[in-house]
């Protein structure tokens, strides 16, 4: 787990300091620290049950943390009740008030703040215009589609002029096309308005597309935090590597400048700095798009299966006990049964983890991708 230096807090829009929350005996959020710059878009990414919603609801004031501090604009807000926090939340479920018109839904918060009627009217019209629903003010929520309802909910949240906008998987109830449309819209809107935003999602694509930074959560802890590019290119743990994008893991043993996989396959580690290779058992991580496949009748690998993914084909390759996946161009002439040779564009080295993937204290060996091409050779064939 990486925590950020706490000294970064001054001038931050939002700071979490070792925030903890347990339900009954079960720890949901474990010492989460995070500091978010003004206008930044930070995503909490993690599998279901990793504590994302709990973190978000603690920021919004719906759940009180057991420990730690939450600062908004350098003020501790832990004791500030929901209705007085400078945050606004967009919920996963459709949450418009069904008995109020679209316009009244948006104006609700402003009415509570006793703003002048004319001001409210212009503000609501403005917000509905922004979300592209200018003509829908008089309708009831039930007369809108799911995507339109979420846009109204967004207008309702923005009407509160929050310091922090909280989005809890707001696109997950929508179908794919709408989801992509709405998140693109949210991203450009957030850039324009500049509201500091925290998004919770389990969708890696969403996280990669929207975020300035991503915090990957696992079992209530931040496993890694960084820009989408940094997290994708240099995952610090196998968990992060698998959660963002796909990754093949090949178990092997380091032997000098080589990694020996079972079945007599070797992977040269020439490009890895000597002090990072270490010794003993390792996991070699290779993203499917970094596997370079060349059809070769004498190659060590055999194509078991080909799956069309639209823009690429996914090859399932095997050589003895070693199997991996590769993304290749659609015009690569390889059918199931064909042989091929492999090279790796990037390698990631992780310390070995037990089968099943549960690796506690699993630490990255090489934190940077290994750029030089590593040619896989089959030792038996080379000897022949």
């Amino acid at each position: 787990m990486r925590t950020e230096p706490l000294t970064a807090s001054r001038g931050s829009a939002l700071v979490l300091e070792q925030v903890r929350k347990a339900f009954g005996g079960a720890v949901a959020v474990d010492e989460v620290s995070l500091s978010v710059a003004p206008s930044e878009f930070v995503t909490l990414l993690g599998p279901s049950g990793s504590g994302k919603t709990t973190v978000l609801r603690m920021i919004g004031g719906f759940i009180a943390p057991d420990g730690g501090r939450i600062l908004i604009d350098d003020n501790d807000v832990v004791k500030v009740p929901v209705e007085r926090r400078p945050t606004a939340m967009l919920f996963q479920q459709l949450s418009l008030w069904p008995h109020l018109s679209v316009a009244r839904n948006v104006s609700f918060g402003l009415e509570l703040r006793k703003r002048p009627k004319t001001e409210i009217r212009t503000r609501v019209a403005e917000l509905l215009e922004i979300v592209g629903l200018a003509d829908f003010g008089g309708r009831l929520p039930a007369q809108l589609s799911g995507g339109q309802q979420q846009r109204v909910a967004l207008a309702r949240a923005l009407a509160l002029e929050p310091r922090i906008l909280l989005l809890d998987e707001p696109f997950s109830a929508l179908d794919t096309k709408l989801r992509v449309e709405l998140r693109t819209f949210v991203r450009s809107l957030q850039r324009e308005v500049g509201t500091t935003t925290i998004l919770v999602t389990h969708d890696q694509e969403e996280a990669l597309e929207l975020s300035d930074r991503i915090a990957v959560l696992r079992d209530g802890r931040i496993e890694q935090i960084g820009t989408p590019g940094a997290i994708y290119d240099t995952p610090e743990t196998g968990f992060v590597a698998e959660f963002l994008g796909a990754m093949n893991f090949l178990a092997g043993t380091v032997d000098g400048r080589l990694a020996r996989l079972s079945g007599g396959i070797t992977v040269p580690l020439d490009a890895v700095p000597t002090d990072e290779v270490g010794a003993g058992r390792v996991e070699i991580g290779v993203r499917p798009e970094d596997v370079i496949v060349t059809p070769d009748p004498g190659g060590a690998f055999v194509v078991e299966r080909v799956t069309r993914k639209g823009y690429v084909n996914e090859l399932f390759l095997r050589s003895g006990p070693v199997s991996l996946r590769a993304y290749v161009g659609k015009d690569l002439a390889l059918e199931p049964g064909g042989s091929c040779a492999l090279r790796f564009g990037h390698l990631h080295l992780f310390s070995a983890r037990p089968p099943g993937g549960e690796a506690d204290g699993e630490a990255p060996l090489a934190t940077a991708p290994i750029d030089a091409l590593a040619e896989m050779t089959n030792a038996r064939e080379a000897a022949r």
Binding site: V82, T87, H99, L112, R156
Partner: protein
């Protein structure tokens, strides 16, 4: 055709998967049959009552009256004390319902939205009010009402009628409150609403159909209440049902029919008044589509 197809496709987004035509037709037919059955079972007994109320000569072999008269109406409407009963019933009942709402709805809200220690005990005690013969409850209450000097007073009558409304006014709105999605409540707090504002502006309107049902049932329960009202209110305060019970035995069946018709009027009027509230809104078990 092409002009119409565009908005149609838009519409499809709001609808669940389309069902085969045959199922739709079957469902519609069953609906129609049920509707007709409901109309039949509601209107025929009422019509029969009205017929009886105007019956002059009505002897066994004949299935319908052989002559008609307004004599029974004349007798009932000119009987001394009737006007007093009508005024009494029509004023006391709304008071009872309003009081019941004020006392029970906060409890219903708590029961529907929160988990607290002893919640089951509260629910059980509310339920037990209706689980035993009501007369034993009234008899147990009479010494207390005597002690409080409430026997033979309007306040006493109100209290005794209130008891019969408690179950409806807590249980039904509690399910209505419980059915409101948490996100709607969270969103209201998020927008700056205090607990009371959330209750007033979100919960109450969304639970409205269930409250309307509870109010109708409470009204009818209080309006028809005769046992306790008689025990506590007699001889000063005889509401319509009490008077009917005391007179029915002394007169022919047509006399009771007239009374029954008169007693039905408030119910019918009430149903017509609240009709649109019963089936509107969301977040309620009573939502119909």
């Amino acid at each position: 055709m092409s002009v119409a197809s565009a908005p149609l496709r838009e519409e499809a987004a709001f609808r669940p998967a389309t069902r085969p035509v045959i199922l739709v037709v079957a469902a519609r037919s069953i609906q129609a049959v049920l509707f007709l059955a409901a109309v039949f079972f509601i209107t025929v007994p009422l019509a029969w009552l009205v017929l009886l109320a105007f019956a002059g000569n009505f002897n066994f072999p004949s299935l319908v009256p052989t002559s008609f008269t307004v004599q029974w109406w004349h007798t009932v409407l000119s009987s001394p004390g009737l006007l007093h009963s009508v005024v009494l019933s029509v004023t006391i009942t709304p008071v009872v319902v309003a009081l019941s709402a004020v006392l029970c709805l906060p409890a219903a809200y708590a029961l529907g939205r929160f988990n607290f220690l002893g919640k089951r005990v509260v629910l059980l005690s509310i339920f037990s009010i209706n689980a035993f013969p009501r007369i034993s409850l009234y008899i147990a209450m009479i010494p207390m009402l005597f002690a409080l000097n409430l026997m033979g007073t309007v306040v006493g009558v109100v209290i005794v009628q209130l008891i019969g409304t408690i179950l409806f006014m807590t249980w039904i709105p509690a399910t209505g409150f419980a059915a409101i999605p948490d996100a709607l409540v969270d969103a209201a707090h998020d927008a700056g609403a205090s607990k009371f504002q959330v209750f007033w502006r979100v919960m109450l309107p969304l639970a409205r159909p269930s409250i309307a049902v509870a109010a109708v049932l409470s009204f009818l329960a209080a309006f028809d209440e005769a046992q306790g009202t008689f025990l506590v209110g007699a001889p000063n305060y005889l509401t319509m049902p009490v008077r009917m019970y005391s007179l029915v035995l002394d007169y022919p069946v047509q006399f009771a029919a007239v009374f029954a018709v008169v007693l039905s009027i408030p119910s019918v009027v009430l149903m017509l008044l609240v009709r649109k509230h019963l089936f509107a809104g969301t977040g309620s078990a009573m939502q119909l589509r």
